[in-house]
Symmetry: C2
Subunit: 142 residues, 2 copies
DNA sequence: GTTTTCTTGCGATTCGTTTGCATTTACATT
DNA sequence: AATGTAAATGCAAACGAATCGCAAGAAAAC
């Protein structure tokens, strides 16, 4: 199975948006396009820059990512630096490997890590999610 | 091997503090005592309440936890709710399981999870650390 | 096209955290 | 014990990320 093209992906995501009860507005479309076209989780501020500040106010970006996260179209990621980052939830579950020197972000999607949640299932918890991020110094920075 | 008593633990931690080049001040002693006596990672604000606000200013708590983290006596933990929490770094490496309803925090220290970092070692990264937190609904809240 | 409901812009506001600066304290040195 | 000095503190002001109130604007429903 080939990976979908950028436009395919955008249509897919916009489809998800229509299925939710969220309205299809210009800021939301711009944000989703930005995340389809660009890699890596971004802060609201970064998204605001990418879509161009003329599209909408920064406050609107915050409100959009919040509603899109609620609708499970976006996923929030925390790198422990006091700001939330967002990426398409549609992408397969994965984690990040962040170089603490150059801030490069790599994707980690080892199949063995898929089963992580089972360690807490036996405690009777439900609706389990987890957040796993790696930090280290990348080969280039050594 | 028995777990150390509260006073043993406190002395051990104060020993670490002396070995660092940090001065042994009243606020730092109070904070370490608070973390020896109480479970779970706490925010600066929570620590400030525990040690009693008379001990020092909130700004001092922030400065203390920062220096104690730097000295690797405390460890910072993020639950993705826009505030940092601190616990004794001395305690064995573990993760947290946070009930998203009642905010209860449990410790997760499955031995199988110890080896997590190896998934990124093969990418040539060094000084690897990771942050893994679980979120779910606890049996009592169901 | 009109109504209803959601969304936005803009400014003000909150909240966690940090900082500047004068003062105080811990600790080393005499 | 008195002194010197570098580090730590209190207090208030400043900060940055995120949120909110409200009036105006735009989408979807009728």
């Amino acid at each position: 199975m080939k990976s979908a093209s950028s436009t395919d992906k955008l249509e897919e995501v916009l489809g998800e948006l229509k299925k939710s009860r969220l309205k299809l507005t210009k800021p939301r479309k711009a944000i989703l396009l930005a995340l389809v076209q660009n890699h890596g989780p971004f802060t609201a501020e970064e998204i605001h820059k990418i879509i161009s500040k003329k599209v909408c106010d920064l406050a609107t970006v915050y409100r959009c990512v919040a509603s899109l996260e609620e609708a499970e179209i976006l996923r929030r990621v925390e790198f422990g630096d006091d700001s939330s980052r967002y990426e398409l939830a549609h992408d397969t579950h994965h984690h990040h490997l962040i170089c603490t020197r150059c801030k490069r972000v790599e994707i980690v999607d080892e199949p063995e890590l898929e089963e992580i949640d089972r360690f807490v299932k036996k405690r009777g918890y439900s609706n389990i999610t987890h957040s796993l991020e790696f930090f280290g110094i990348c080969p280039d920075c050594l």
